[in-house]
Symmetry: C2
Subunit: 386 residues, 2 copies
């Protein structure tokens, strides 16, 4: 079943010729049509949102129902190759964090070589910002090279044109199902009360546009042209065997961000990532090396009373491990474009026509491994100005 066995059962939205988009579950190289198999209205829908809004008890019930169908061999399987996959959920707000210490410090060393690699707030809260929900696309969508304003080396002033420093960011995304009330906050141990599951995520970045625009309000057009997520959402309930302690947190987080059993409790996720550019694995970022936990991102996000909505998406930020072959961006891998992105290679940043594929896997309760939905996108050349 190559990682998509009965221990996994991720959800997506698909269509077949002549029939509208609807919810399905992937099993091996096939799709269970949940609209057909269950007859439920919330599965006969073009997004997962109606199902997501039902909350954890309904998610568990659906998983049991699908597991029973599979166990009893009581289902039809549509070949994956006959289906078109759609964006699995309507994104409400998209928040991107910056949770990997190795990434944040690596970027700090590149851009502020004479200063402390981490800014003063970094170990006290998971730094984050809002991205563009409307630019989130499903795996397989091509990405047009963005144009933007940037200061080219040697130029006195900025110019407008195609990005010359186009990058990927390998991340893990979390999909909110159950909303929270405005003015309330969600504690770090309440992740499973609100989050339905995870997606792979590539937060494409135009580094030259970002470098020129980002002060003082943060990334904007350098990121807002496209963010790609996997077509399959792996439910948290499939990841029971993937929980693992955090690498360690010092200083101890303030009480509103602290897990009840501390950072040594299994509050991080052991998800392995592979970054493939133009067919070559260039890096293997381990999500387990990330400093801030998913629950802490959620707690921080709601710590000012901001409400969660069904369809909210929040992501880890670039996942980078401690070693040079574990970094989740070309910015780090190429030291800001100053060295090739892999041995025997001359290329640095992404070039037109190249495809990026992010692959994810995690331990399964069966002792095997789950293959999470991949995140693929090919770079199209910049459009001629309108």
């Amino acid at each position: 079943m190559s990682g998509f066995g009965p221990d996994h059962l991720p959800y997506g939205v698909f269509s077949t010729p002549g029939a509208p988009p609807r919810v399905g579950v992937r099993l091996g190289d096939g799709i269970l049509d949940l609209a057909f198999e269950t007859g439920r209205d919330h599965f006969a829908a073009p997004s997962l949102n109606a199902f997501l809004a039902l909350g954890p008890a309904a998610w568990d019930e659906a998983r049991e129902e699908v597991s029973a169908l599979v166990r009893d061999d009581d289902f039809e399987l549509l070949p994956l190759s006959s289906a078109r996959l759609h964006l699995p959920f309507e994104v409400a707000d998209y928040v991107d964090f910056y949770c990997s210490e190795h990434h944040a410090a690596g970027v700090g060393r590149l851009f502020r070589p004479d200063a402390e690699p981490l800014l003063p707030n970094w170990r006290h809260l998971p730094v984050g910002y809002h991205g563009r929900a409307g630019s989130v696309v499903v795996s397989g969508s091509s990405v047009v090279r963005p144009s933007g304003q940037r200061l080219l080396p040697g130029d006195d002033g900025p110019s407008y044109g195609p990005s010359r420093r186009l990058d990927l960011e390998a991340e893990l995304g979390f999909v909110v199902g159950a909303p929270s009330a405005p003015g309330s906050r969600v504690g770090p141990d309440a992740l499973a009360d609100h989050v339905f599951g995870v997606v792979g995520l590539n937060d494409w970045s135009a580094r030259d546009v970002q470098a020129w625009e980002y002060r003082p309000l943060g990334p904007f057009l350098g990121k807002s042209f496209a963010t790609t997520v996997s077509a399959w959402v792996t439910p948290l309930s499939a990841l029971d065997a993937a929980w693992t302690p955090l690498p360690g947190q010092s200083p101890a987080p303030l009480p509103h961000l602290a897990h009840a059993d501390g950072a040594d409790a299994a509050v991080g996720l052991d998800v392995a990532v592979e970054v493939v550019v133009d067919g070559v694995v260039v890096s293997r970022p381990p999500y387990a090396s990330t400093y801030w936990s998913p629950g802490q991102m959620l707690a921080h996000l709601t710590s000012n009373g901001a409400a969660l909505r069904t369809g909210d998406l929040f992501a880890s930020g670039t996942i980078s491990g401690p070693s040079p072959d574990q970094v989740g961006s070309l910015l780090e891998l190429t030291a800001d474009g100053t060295r090739p992105r892999s041995p025997g290679e001359v290329r640095t940043w992404l070039e037109d026509g190249e495809e990026v594929v992010l692959r994810y896997s995690a331990p399964s309760v069966t002792g095997g491994r789950l293959t999470l939905g991949e995140v693929a996108g090919r770079i199209e050349s910049a459009r001629a100005p309108a």
Copy 2:
């Protein structure tokens, strides 16, 4: 008609006891029920979005139809006092800009007294960032004082608690109706092809939370607890007499941000704002003094190919004029809390129980003035931790 005459006709969403939310137009102190008057489905809806999606020709047609009803005295008017007003549109993505030179320079002088007040990029592009769409609320909604992590004066490390530096930001918001295609861009002179109208907007800000969190990814929780918009959306077509030249742009913007007839053309809007705190007018920001035009915000926002969606909201950023009694935030008015916010006053930042009202007006084609929808919100004390 006190600014809400037949020359204005702003749109909103209202409900009455026993009847669901639907689209109406304000006339004087009454509401025309467009669902009832026109029988059209897109007005029998709980948001303006279906109408907004129809585009400029349909907007013009609707305005003519309503104008004819009013001219012929062929309508019923529901008393405003009998209706509850709702958020007028579902917000897709919310982008906040930083377009006022007087504001950006004022903030720069406060926070970087020994450096150039404006950062190097500021005169080359309208700096902006994404805010939280899910936290946008309608005028009249109370605002719970947010808690957050902040570094208190004299403390070695951050603590979590209610914001002590709660501020308002007087802004003008622009509501996108007609979408654009991903990968395309919208020119600075195409505002009216996409933007339906304007709202008043208060981008509430917790300055202590913002100061601690914002490096390097920009504002997040210091802003994401609430953004209030007016209940009434004034169509651009009511603002024909309000267009005015920009104060001037130097250096000349790059071609993709340049209006065809230059900054001396009438591409800015003459909207007058009053900031009222606890019943006292503390400031009168003039939107006409803003450096970047609405069309330039739109052109910048789409210059990387990001698509517009129906319901997108983008805002000017804090509006501040050249004189001290024209600033649009308490940050500037109180010099970061170091002086009272008005003569004979001791208070600086917003206190619990205080109400903020932003009032807006603009010249009408009749020679009188339109009163745009007000933006009101009262501060509730912080919630006890959950």
